[in-house]
Structure formats: structure tokens, C-alpha cells
Amino acid sequence: MDLNFSFFFSNFPELTITGLAFGAIYALIALGYTMVYGVLQLINFAHSEVFMYGTFACLWFTMAMVGDGNPGGVKTLAILLGALLAAMAMSAVVALILERVAYRPLIKRNAPRLIALISAIGASFVLAELMGLRDRVAGWVGLDDDLRDYVGRARINNSMPNIVDNKVLFQVGNADVRMVDLIVIISAVVMMVAVDQFVRRSRLGRGIRATAQDPETAALMGVNSTRVIQLTFLLGGLMAGVAAFLYMLKIEVTKFDAGFLLGVKAFTAAVLGGIGNLRGALVGGLVLGVVENWGSAILGTEWRHVVAFVLLVVILLFRPTGILGESLGKART
């Protein structure tokens, strides 16, 4: 195994920046995992599909709006904004449906967490395969011909029209910082701060924290637990939608099983930062993205995934509660 340190050091700024960009996407998806875990002690395995549906909403909206032409300036901005909203809406809707169909019946009956976990895994497969078989589903309602561009080639990569000119904005050291990477990092941080502030300061946010800390007492204090759970899923879904939009901006390609690996990595990021801790999701995501890139540079890209999971194991060995430790319920006001 030859360790390519010279390459790593000479390209350190570029590797770190691109690592932060992908890490920001992990962080936004991780937020969904960490919030649901904080409130329900449930690992929402289907969250990866919430993300994946968001990427498709973004793709379809852009395809519908762009057609063949290449819009300029203001129109591009409007389309991007629309795509972002479409992704957020789709992810939020899928998250809410998930909560209603896959989890609420179990939570109401006080089912063991293991059962909810199995339901989550099942829901994940159902959602992913539905997307992968969308051409058949469209066929049932006779729309597969009209919607061919959208539902065709259902199991392979679908790519989004490229409407953003990814120019270099400035340089750090010898690395070019490009527009898309910067947008991704800044958007993720802004969204994280927004969610964090919402949970810490608003009344609804206080309800979430209360339910996370002690569901029964919170109910006694007048917190509507069903509403809180819905809100948790909604927030996680909205953030996954933002992640989906940023992912499509950067990678421009999606597939029905695109959620799987990203979901596993995002969950890893959530645990890395401290499961149940919102800021932990941000830290975990960014750290994971950066370390993955560094590892790829030093060892070769084939070691990318190995590096990510070795990092997880090492951190948990020394700090079992994750980097930032404390959970949602115990967050100080």
C-alpha cells in the first residue's frame, strides 16, 4: 500500500474544499436522521429515499422548465429556485407520508423499536423500487408514453440539463474555488443554522426538544406528540430536499438507488457527530466529507468507503457518543 502524501499535501486546499462541499450534502441528510432519532429513538432508514425523491423532483422540474434551450441570467435563477422548492416539497411530502403510513401506527401501539426499524427498512425498499419501476407504474395509468422522458429508463442514471456555468470564483492557495462548491457549502451552513435556531428558540422547537427529553411529561405539559413527530419528519424532509437540490447542482445525475450509499454515509455522519445532536450532524457531515477525500488522495479512491467507516469506528472507540456528544433532549437553552 503506497501512501501518496506528496499528492495530498500539494493539493490539500482543493481536496479540502471539494470534501467540504460533499460533506455539506451529507450534513443536510444527516439532519433528518439525527432529528428523528433524537425525538423517537428510531433510525429512519427510509430517509435516504426521502432524499432520492427530492433529487427526482429537482430533475423533473428542471427538465420540464428547460426543454431544449439554454436559458440565461434571471430565468436560470428562477428555474433553480423552482427546482429547490420542488425538491423540498417532494421530500417533505414523502417524509410526511412515511411518518403517517410506516411509523405512526407502530408508535401509537407502543411497538418495540425493533419493529419500527424493520418497518423503516421495508419502507426504504418499497420507495426505492417504486421509483425504479416508475415506467410500469406509469403504464398502469396509461401515461408511460406521454411521460416517457420522465419515467423512461427507470433503472439507470438520469441526468439533469446543465444550466449553471460553474466558474471559478477565487483561489485558495493553488486551488480553484468554484461557484457550485461554494453555494453548496454556504447553503448547507445557512440551513443548518436556521434549523438549529428554530429548534432552540421557537415554541414548536421547544416542543420537539421537550418530547425528545421526556415524551410523557411533555404530553402532560400539553405538547401534542403527534404534531411534534410530524414536525420532526417535516423538518428532516425539507432539509433532505435542500440536500437533494444541492446534490443535483453538483453531480447532475440521479438514479432510483442513489439514496442508498448516501443514506448510509449520512447516517454515519450523524453518529460521528453525535446522534440526536443537530450541530453534530453538521460537524459529522463536514468531517466525513473531508476525511473521505483526504483518504482517497493518500490511499487511492478505491479506499474511499473504507476510510469513511474506519473513521467512524475510531471516533466511537474514543468517544462513544460522537464528536459533539450531547443529544437533542439535553441541549441547553
Partner: protein, 387 residues
């Protein structure tokens, strides 16, 4: 609501009984086929089938489709005049070596199948090869190019195209002589096909290679690889792998301002590459042991293909057509079992549409050609034959 334990037990027993009956039903069908004899009066064999083994669905489905259709054309042309029609089974491996062994076992167990056009990919050929060899089921692959496949001593293995031991050096020759590259970065996808081919190209290019990286199939973010390429200042990149990853890699390379030439091989020669990479695909060089559709030798085939399927023949359609025809000519003489068909294939020596079809003891074709294609104006156009 079913609440009592007794109801659950009855239901479970019913399900078990149903499953057993269903399994019995399937075995009966296969038993029927193996009992049939070839017609005493007619020349050609009856109640036989050929099978396609490869990606009908999955991430590389685009590469399977032309092969399915190429063989289909040959079979349809045969069946038009035949007394006994030859059946055509499609075995979908999704191009992955994971499912290949169990699917191969199933195919080997189906006595009606006496010849396989495929497996399409090198990974699955490696996984399914021993099973076909043991069952004595002759296979002719129109597209699997890893050279080591022929070195396993499988009597049943044949391929209708040049392998990477010719494609690799041809690609390296094109890079060194036609492109006159001074520094090459080699990327592979760790697959049997991609890693094998990239390894050969790397060996052939020797000192010209300034860097190497391996990616994983299914990855979407290649920023570390792109950084490695740009920092190595290579003027050419060679990628051994399939079109899904190739599209993403070239997109991300161009996105970060890389202007060198991107060279790939037959696994990328698919419209899926153009769709995935869009403008970034422009100027990509693709090598392939597959004959261009405009070549006069395949003109009749191309016209018939276009008439039946409404599109120009895709990658390896002509080779699949040749492979199927080898089997069909054997069936026309009355061969109805695997052993005789295998002998027929081993002794075959005729001109097909793509080349003179004659296999040596390891299953390699005697006559091989490698062609270069390039992406121009959003289309894959043929460039030249690499001598």
C-alpha cells in the same frame, strides 16, 4: 382479524402446500421439453432454444439491448423459413457477476436451451463460465473482452470478437501514435473488465503513464480522482470501465477545467454515455472491437436491423448476430443437443458479417479488428480501424 394461533398454523400450512405445488408445476414443464426428440422427417432440429445471458435491465442495460436485438434478428430470420421455430430465452443478469452463477445453473438445467449468446460482460462470464462448462452448454460471447476468460480451459467458452489483449494494445497504440500523448493518467473501475483493460493499457504505455486511480462502480463523486488528474498535468486520460461512471468522470473533469483528451473503451460505447455526459462527452475517443454500422460488410445486416427495430444497430449487435447464426446453422443441419452443437461451434469456419468466424482451442477468434470512434456533435462516429 386473525388472532388465534390455530388460524395462523392453518394459513402457514396452506402457504407451504401452495408453494410445493407451484414448484412441482415448474419441474413438470421442463421435464416435457427434455423428452422431445428431433423430427424424424425434417432436416432441422426442433424444440430447441437459444438464450441471451446479460444485462436486460440494470445500470448497463443499454449495452445489453443491441445484443438481444442482434441475436433476435438472426433468430427471426431463421424462423421465417423454418419448419420448427427456434425459441429465444432472455436471461437477465443485470450485467453483474452476483446473480450470474444461479442464473447459469437455471439455464443449464433447462434442457431446451442448447446454445447461449453471451454472457455479455467479463465479470459474469467469469462467474458463470464453470457452470456452463460443466453442463456442456456452448456459449459464444459477442462482447466479453477480458483475456483471462479463455485461459480457464472451458471447452464451452467462445467469443466472437477480439479480447482486451488486442484492444488494450490497440488503445495504447492509438494514444501513443495518433494522439501523440506525452503523459497519460489511467483510471479503472475495479471490475473484471475495467481493471483488466486499464492494466494492459498501463503496461503498454509504460513511462508515459503519470498517474493511476481506481474508482468504485456506483460512486457519483469523483472529486479526489479529478484532483489527481489535474495535478498530474496529464494531457490524456484513459478510463477502463462502463458508461455510467465514464459519463460522470468526464463531466466532473470538464467541470473542473480539464482540457485533455478522454479515451475510453467498448464498455462506454453506448448512448447512455452521451446522455449522462452531455456536452462534456465531446471529443471523447472510444475504442471497440466492434465493427462500425457503416462498414459495407454489415450493410445488409444494418438495413435489416433498422427495419425490424427502427434504429441503427448498437454496439455488438452485429457480433451477436454472427454468434446466433453460428448456432442456427448448426440447428439447421439437425443438431438438437449441446454436445453436437459444441462440436459444430468448435469446427466452424465461415465468413460472418463482422469477420471470418473461426475459434482456436481456447475459444478465441482467429480474425480480430479494433476500431476507434469519437464523439462529435453529440454522436458517436467511427474514426478509423486501428491497425
Amino acid at each position: 382479524m386473525i388472532r388465534t394461533t390455530r388460524s395462523w398454523r392453518i394459513a402457514a400450512a396452506a402457504v407451504a402446500a401452495g408453494l410445493t405445488l407451484a414448484a412441482c408445476g415448474t419441474t413438470d414443464d421442463e421435464g416435457g421439453d427434455s423428452d422431445s426428440e428431433s423430427a424424424a422427417g425434417g432436416d432441422a432440429a426442433c424444440d430447441v432454444s437459444l438464450a441471451f445471458f446479460g444485462p436486460q435491465t440494470g445500470p448497463a442495460a443499454g449495452l445489453g439491448q443491441p445484443i438481444i436485438q442482434g441475436a433476435q434478428l438472426a433468430i427471426d430470420q431463421y424462423n421465417a423459413d423454418a419448419e420448427c421455430e427456434v425459441g429465444y430465452e432472455l436471461i437477465d443478469s443485470q450485467g453483474s457477476p452476483d446473480q450470474a452463477p444461479s442464473l447459469a445453473t437455471e439455464a443449464a438445467g433447462n434442457e431446451a436451451i442448447i446454445g447461449v449468446v453471451g454472457p455479455a460482460f467479463s465479470g459474469e462470464s467469469d462467474a458463470a463460465g464453470p457452470i456452463f462448462a460443466e453442463a456442456g452448454l456452448p456459449t459464444i460471447s459477442p462482447s466479453a473482452t477480458n483475456p483471462t476468460l479463455a485461459e480457464n480451459g472451458w471447452d464451452t467458452f467462445h467469443r466472437a470478437l477480439g479480447n482486451d489483449a488486442t484492444q488494450g494494445p490497440a488503445a495504447a497504440k492509438y494514444i501513443a501514435e495518433t494522439l501523440q500523448a506525452k503523459s497519460v493518467f489511467v483510471i479503472d473501475d475495479a471490475s473484471e473488465y475495467g481493471a483488466g483493460l486499464a492494466g494492459i493499457v498501463e503496461d503498454e504505455l509504460g513511462d508515459t503513464v503519470v498517474g493511476q486511480d481506481t474508482i468504485q462502480v456506483g460512486d457519483t463523486d469523483f472529486s479526489a480522482t479529478v484532483t489527481a488528474v489535474t495535478s498530474s498535468k496529464a494531457d490524456t486520460v484513459f478510463f477502463g470501465g462502463y458508461y455510467a461512471e465514464a459519463a460522470l468522470i468526464v463531466s466532473q473533469l470538464r467541470d473542473r477545467g480539464y482540457e485533455g483528451t478522454f479515451v475510453v473503451a467498448d464498455g462506454v460505447k453506448d448512448p447512455g454515455f452521451l446522455e449522462g455526459a452531455k456536452d462534456a462527452a465531446e471529443g471523447t475517443i472510444i475504442t471497440c472491437p466492434c465493427i462500425p454500422a457503416e462498414d459495407p460488410a454489415v450493410a445488409d445486416f444494418a438495413a435489416a436491423y433498422e427495419e425490424e427495430f427502427g434504429e441503427a444497430p448498437g454496439t455488438y449487435a452485429a457480433e451477436a448476430y454472427d454468434a446466433a447464426n453460428i448456432f442456427l446453422e448448426g440447428i439447421a443441419t439437425g443438431i438438437d443437443n449441446r454436445e453436437d452443437l459444441l462440436t459444430w461451434v468448435n469446427e466452424y469456419d465461415e465468413q460472418g458479417v463482422t469477420k471470418q468466424l473461426k475459434f482456436d482451442e481456447t475459444g478465441e477468434p482467429a480474425d480480430v479488428h479494433v476500431y476507434a470512434y469519437s464523439v462529435e456533435g453529440g454522436e458517436i462516429v467511427s474514426d478509423q480501424e486501428i491497425e
